[in-house]
């Protein structure tokens, strides 16, 4: 019975913890994991608040958010999923905005292998070309559009391998198991230099723009750190990083 006296103290302690928490849980699509890590570091330096970042495929993150994952902000690889969350009341209405437009690149770690016009798709003697699954990933859908425009979607069907998301697609190519693959430009942009290898930056006209939306989730509503981070994504520091990783910025 004596233990009961502790209950209010513990409860109060927990409350204090919640009140002073300055961490924000961010769910981020695979393609934006690298720039987000950089932005999170700057954010911590400038505001003293910590962003805890979890990356994965957009669809999986959606399922987790729908089932009570503790995320407060969602940076999607598309526009549809955050819209859906907004309509379902899991995202805060009116908080959605585009934070970046993704660029697609056909990349190989071999220098001089991929020509700057992407003709290798038509004439190359590769065994495997990796793309993200078009059903699951916006970058995969874009890759399919490009291959269709080149008239190569059907002819190379048997040589395609599918990553679950853009991160895995990159891994298939970087390990050499697929000679080349459509990845996000952000993945082959290291800090200030291109990664080793060769690539074709696919002209924006060949695929539907990959508009990537951010949204404040219901769990982040009224949380200072979460709202701060969303604002921070539009700051000069953040947009500089976003640009450096090869994304186009919203007009």
């Amino acid at each position: 019975m004596k233990n009961l006296n502790w209950t209010p103290a513990i409860f109060f302690g927990l409350l204090m913890n919640l009140a002073t928490a300055d961490e924000v849980h961010v769910a981020v699509a695979s393609n934006f994991a690298a720039p987000m890590a950089k932005i999170a570091a700057e954010f911590a330096r400038d505001t003293g608040n910590k962003a805890l970042v979890s990356s994965g495929g957009t669809g999986k993150l959606y399922a987790q958010i729908k089932n009570g994952a503790p995320f407060e902000i969602f940076l999607s690889a598309d526009e549809e999923t955050p819209t859906k969350l907004e309509n379902e009341g899991l995202g805060v209405a009116g908080s959605r905005f585009p934070y970046a437009f993704g660029r697609l690149a056909l990349w190989s770690p071999k220098p001089g292998y991929v020509d700057p016009q992407g003709n290798i798709v038509k004439h190359g003697k590769f065994r495997h070309l990796a793309i993200a699954s078009p059903k699951l990933a916006p970058y995969g859908r874009a890759a399919q559009e490009v291959l269709e425009k080149q008239g190569m979607w059907q002819p190379i069907q048997s040589r395609l391998v599918f990553g679950e998301n853009i991160a895995q697609t990159h891994q298939f190519v970087s390990s050499g198991n697929a000679e080349l693959g459509f990845v996000a430009l952000s993945q082959i942009r290291q800090d200030n230099a291109e990664q080793q290898g060769s690539f074709w930056l696919v002209p924006q006209a060949m695929y539907t723009p990959i508009r990537q939306d951010a949204i404040l989730l219901a769990r982040g509503k009224g949380k200072t750190a979460a709202e701060q981070l969303l604002k921070y994504l539009k700051s000069d520091k953040a947009t500089t990083i976003i640009k450096r990783y090869g994304y186009d910025l919203p007009k």
């Binding site: 699954s133 391998v161 679950e164 198991n177």
Partner: protein, 225 residues
């Protein structure tokens, strides 16, 4: 979505059957050696066999992707032999699954052989039974429960495989898109009805397997060797 897609189900069963048969063929001599040797190698080899029990499947898959890839040592060998490279093929999944389910087959058989002791085999050899005869008429029948456990566990564990396949499969319909990957895909694509069908089937299957395993264990205990 269109009609229910059974391809991942058949592929998974084919993979589990192939893997289990290969493991019984390769695992039995290994288990025999482990059970009967007094060599100093027993402990390190036993530890290597048990590794997949503690390694995350993604670690195994990642190393396989590197090793079997065109720059990896095994990949170089398969290319010289004219086999190409193994990732993104059914054969590659078999290699991965054999490693991944190895302890589940070797350990039950090894335990059964160890429980046998050397006595029955010594008696058999005084009766002039040849080594093969000793194995097939004495050791194997006595160790049968161990073999059955190994078969069921090896099969079921391969059916439940995900991380390794995800890393080296490439999600190719009819070649590497197994059940667990198909479920993952349905969830990623927000097709929860299909995910439920497949996942529910898996749940039922696992329960029945374990039911059979425990039911069998009960019976053998009652009857005794």
């Amino acid at each position: 979505m269109n009609a229910f897609d059974f391809a991942p189900v058949w592929l998974t069963l084919r993979l589990a059957t192939t893997t289990t048969l290969l493991l019984l063929l390769m695992g039995t001599p290994l288990a025999w050696w482990l059970a009967r040797t007094s060599s100093w190698l027993k402990i390190p080899v036993g530890a290597i066999v048990a590794m997949p029990l503690v390694l995350p499947p993604t670690v195994l898959g990642f190393y396989l992707l590197m090793t079997l890839g065109p720059q990896g040592p095994v990949g170089q060998l398969t290319q010289i032999l004219g086999l190409g490279t193994l990732p993104f093929t059914f054969a590659g999944l078999v290699v991965g699954s054999v490693l991944y389910s190895l302890p589940f087959v070797v350990q039950p058989i090894q335990n059964a052989f160890e429980a046998l002791g050397s006595r029955p085999l010594e008696v058999a050899s005084t009766l002039r039974a040849s080594p093969w005869d000793r194995f097939f008429s004495v050791a194997f029948p006595l160790a049968r429960p161990g073999f059955l456990t190994a078969t069921i566990l090896g099969f079921a564990h391969t059916v439940g495989e995900f991380g390794v396949v995800l890393m080296i499969g490439g999600n190719i319909p009819g070649a590497t898109r197994v059940l667990s990957v198909a479920i993952y895909d349905h969830v990623e694509a927000m097709e929860y009805a299909q995910a439920h069908w497949l996942a529910g089937g898996m749940l039922l299957f696992s329960f029945l397997v374990l039911l059979a395993l425990y039911g069998f264990g009960q019976r053998t205990q009652r009857v005794g060797p």
